[in-house]
Symmetry: C2
Subunit: 157 residues, 2 copies
């Protein structure tokens, strides 16, 4: 063989394998998301964004400011306005004004919203368990470790 011993020849550039990883990551989370969205619609008559907002609210019994919701869900402010508007119209969420700051509101789940979310969350967890049934504890641990590593570096940008 006359080629340099330094270049193995078979190895792919890192940029290519990173690209492939990204495409797989995107594909996989898309598949899961699609399945969740389908079930949300079919079995609960709701959507993922609504579920996400309710989920954030359910963890904050004292309520969250609009900006706090959008920060946690990493979506734009204007987006949250529309979703909370609808949840409010349906009696699921509630805007509570803050005397100390007339610019802001605290958004809370109503009792009806809490009951609804409890039902939805239980189903949601069961669906995930079912969808990810192919992964054992080692798989899960391995992926969580690497995803943590990755998302940490991404957030520190």
């Amino acid at each position: 063989m006359t080629t340099s011993p330094v270049k193995a020849g078979k190895t792919e550039p890192m940029s290519k394998s990173r690209l492939r990883l990204w495409l797989k990551l995107l594909k996989t989370s898309g598949l899961i998301e699609e399945e969740l969205r389908r079930r949300m619609r079919a079995e609960l008559g709701t959507t993922l964004p609504r579920f996400d907002v309710m989920s954030a609210l359910s963890r904050a019994p004292d309520g969250l400011k609009m900006s706090e919701i959008s920060k946690r869900l990493r979506v734009s402010n204007g987006n949250i306005t529309g979703i909370v508007d609808k949840l409010t119209d349906e009696g699921i969420a509630l805007r509570v004004s803050i005397p100390a700051d007339r610019r802001a509101n605290l958004v809370r789940l109503t009792p009806k919203g809490q009951a609804l979310f409890a039902r939805h969350a239980a189903l949601h967890e069961a669906w995930i368990d079912e969808i990810l049934a192919g992964l054992n504890a080692d798989d899960v641990a391995g992926m969580v470790l690497r995803l943590d590593h990755l998302s940490t570096t991404l957030e520190d940008e």
Copy 2:
């Protein structure tokens, strides 16, 4: 220690760790996607969906049917119609009628579209390389393996 040796006590139910994995997967791919979208807009004046369609077309020099594009990108048919309409208006893509089947069209990139995509694809790969720079070859290999496993089981549903 007096507790049963069988039950460790600290272990979390699989459903919880699977849920946590899903949330991390969603978060991570969302962070990457957001960064890509930002750069697409800022540096190329385009969007991820348009890039995805162009990418699919670039791999099929003979063209793709509309339904083939939506199948590959896993989005609805109606969605593709709108995106291809715009790419066509801009001289990036082209609908070619098929004599043998008057229902369908083959969509192709124009030479202008090919040149444009070549430029975009090179940048895209470089961005991914930069964004995922924190992962070494082992990390990448480990994640690809597990994501393959997962997406395969998901597609066989």
